[in-house]
């Protein structure tokens, strides 16, 4: 398995999302894909439009949830879905580009709306090989 991937894990009420990457930013990008995959099939989203997102937090865990919630805000207010991400993190500040398109119910057949990323089951960790993992429960 490559060092860069995402997955969902079961949670009784909601959904657990997890991203892995060779660095922190990579894990955050993958987790954003996991978040979007809760809502729709990633393959259906075309990267037609770019949106810039930034946020800042005191530690990696708060930054991770802050990033996902900033993304949810853009999705909700711009009525968009994003399928491609580029994240940069420096000194607790995150700057990202997200590419996607306006929601089209016929095309994207969205399953569910994600209300928020939560601090439930929140972990941002580096393994002994230096790879990063970021996970939390999202409220649907």
């Amino acid at each position: 398995m490559s060092s860069k991937y995402w997955e969902h894990y079961p949670h009784p009420a909601d959904m657990g999302i997890r991203g892995f990457g060779p660095n922190l930013a990579g894990a955050f990008e993958q987790a954003a894909l996991a978040l979007t995959a809760v809502i729709t099939d990633l393959q259906t989203i075309e990267p037609k439009e770019k949106v810039e997102i930034s946020c800042q937090e005191q530690d990696n865990e708060l930054l991770f949830v802050g990033w996902l919630n900033a993304l949810l805000y853009e999705m909700a207010t711009k009525r968009m879905l994003f399928g491609k991400f580029e994240v940069k993190i420096k000194n607790g500040r995150l700057n990202a580009n997200a590419w996607g398109e306006e929601i089209n119910v016929e095309k994207h057949n969205p399953t569910v709306e994600v209300k928020a990323a939560t601090y439930g089951d929140l972990k941002v960790e580096q393994d002994k090989n230096g790879n990063w993992m970021a996970q939390c429960v999202v409220d649907v």
Binding site: P10, P12, L72, A116, Y119, D139, V140
Partner: protein
């Protein structure tokens, strides 16, 4: 759950002694079967809540309790501001004042039989539901603030419903403590066109039929008879509530840290009630409650329009509106002393008993109607609050069936089309925007709502009045 960790106090009450950092015991109301099926995480999360500052009496879990984030879903906890008590954004959750309302229709099953498909189609068409849907209202900032201050009263003043509706909403549809200036621009932006939308997930609009009465006297007071058609709406505070939670959680994590409150789980983020951040959150959260009841009020108007176009003899009267994700200031008697407490209910319904001063005059003798939502394929229940429940759980009971299985497991086991087909065979019409969404909400993914309600009644938290089964279900 490992039942050996619990002491059984009676057939329906389980107890965990306070250990370590817990200030109070955990009390779980359930029968043996529900306890056996309960996740260990309920025990852990309820114990974590018991360790928060200023908690009074006990950290309670209702019979439908399951693993949440921070608080268990089905968790109830009261905090005393005079004892350093806290308010927790995690203890309210991201769908502030998510709740259920039930409308009497004055129709019976045979009245709607010829119109069932038409009704399902019209409701699905006119009720904005699912991701990306917009309401017909667009609120500018002044109107937004008016809505956040006025709640359901705001909606009624703008022609969405009648003044008599307000009598049947908790706090008459308006939380006076709401402070729109403590709600971020982000939250208001998210809500601009979401008033009058259903949302998605477990939210629904159902037409239900009363199939059984358990308590003729209270059923009569609630104007419920077998075969009556009832409309049930389950939804919450939409984007505004989600964003208030999102905004205040990180602030409360930092406040807790700076004030030396140790959080066993960051999702328990909280602040003393008597702190700046506590006061800000209380003002904002009450806007969330007002937003949710305004939303259900506008949806009620849309449903009334559908009936007036299709079945004009219908008369939709609000039976009651309950919110099940809230923190409310209430008077409770603690060891003979009346105290003002902040009662968190996370996936738990307020269930005030007879004689409670907050009830409208025509419900004061019966107690508060308690609306328990089931799943698409099973049943919903109408209960009534009890005097005993006031003492057992600050006047609280279960809120629904409670999930037994994750969404991921549900989609592995069922396909949405099969779920819709098998429900159709039982005479239930489902209109849902998403096939996968229907699979995630498959009836089998939930606990047995009848077992939950049975345990609720036997524990004394509330009393059964009527059982209802769905005929039409509109999902987001």
């Amino acid at each position: 759950m490992c039942a050996e960790n619990l002491k059984r106090r009676s057939e329906f009450e389980w107890y965990i002694e306070p250990t370590g950092k817990m200030h109070v015991p955990v009390v779980i109301y359930a029968d043996k079967q529900l306890i056996d099926a309960m996740d260990d995480q309920v025990y852990r999360q309820a114990s974590n809540v018991a360790s928060l500052p200023g908690i009074v009496k006990a950290s309670y879990a209702m019979p439908d309790a399951h693993w949440g984030y921070g608080f268990p879903i089905g968790g109830v906890a009261g905090f005393d501001p005079e004892m350093g008590g806290v308010i927790s954004a995690g203890g309210v959750g991201f769908d502030i004042a998510c709740g259920v309302r039930a409308l009497l229709t004055g129709l019976t099953a045979s009245d709607i039989e010829p119109y069932r498909n038409q009704l399902a189609d019209m409701l699905a068409k006119r009720i904005p539901a699912g991701l990306g849907s917009r309401g017909k209202l667009r609120l500018n900032r002044t109107e937004m603030d008016d809505m956040l201050v006025g709640g359901a009263e705001w909606a009624v003043e703008r022609g969405y419903g009648n003044r008599s509706d307000l009598e049947r909403i908790e706090e008459r549809g308006r939380m006076k403590e709401a402070q729109p200036r403590f709600v971020s621009d982000h939250a208001k932006k998210r809500q601009e066109d979401e008033v009058g939308t259903l949302g998605s997930g477990n939210h629904y609009l159902e037409l239900q039929k009363v199939v059984e009465l358990y308590d003729e006297l209270n059923a009569k007071s609630f104007k419920l008879a077998v075969n009556d058609i009832v409309v049930s709406i389950h939804c919450g505070s939409r984007g505004l509530g989600h964003q208030i939670g999102t905004d205040y959680l990180p602030k409360m994590v930092k406040t807790a840290q700076s004030m030396g409150i140790e959080l066993p789980d960051r999702e328990l983020a909280c602040a003393p009630i008597k702190s700046d951040i506590g006061r800000l959150y209380i003002g904002a959260m009450n806007c969330g409650i007002n937003c949710a009841v305004a939303n259900r009020q506008v949806l009620t108007h849309l449903v009334r329009q559908v009936f007036s176009d299709l079945l004009p003899k219908a008369n939709l009267v609000l039976l009651y509106d309950v919110s099940h994700n809230t923190c409310k200031v209430e008077q409770h008697s603690i060891q003979g002393q009346t105290k003002k407490l902040y009662i968190h209910r996370k996936g738990a319904t307020r269930a005030f008993g007879p004689g409670h001063p907050s009830l409208p005059s025509d419900l004061i003798k019966t107690g508060q109607p308690v609306l328990i939502g089931g799943t698409m394929g099973t049943a919903s229940y109408i209960l009534v609050g009890t005097e005993k429940g006031m003492d057992l759980s600050f006047g609280s009971c279960c809120h629904g069936a409670g999930r037994a299985m994750s969404r991921k497991q549900a989609t592995k086991r069922w396909h949405g089309r099969d779920v819709i087909r098998s429900l159709a065979e039982k005479g239930i019409i489902v209109r849902g925007a998403s096939i996968r969404g229907v699979a995630e909400e498959a009836p089998g993914a939930y606990k047995d709502v009848s077992a939950v309600v049975e345990a609720t009644e036997k524990a004394g938290l509330a009393k059964k009045v009527a059982k209802l089964e769905p005929l039409i279900c509109v999902k987001g």
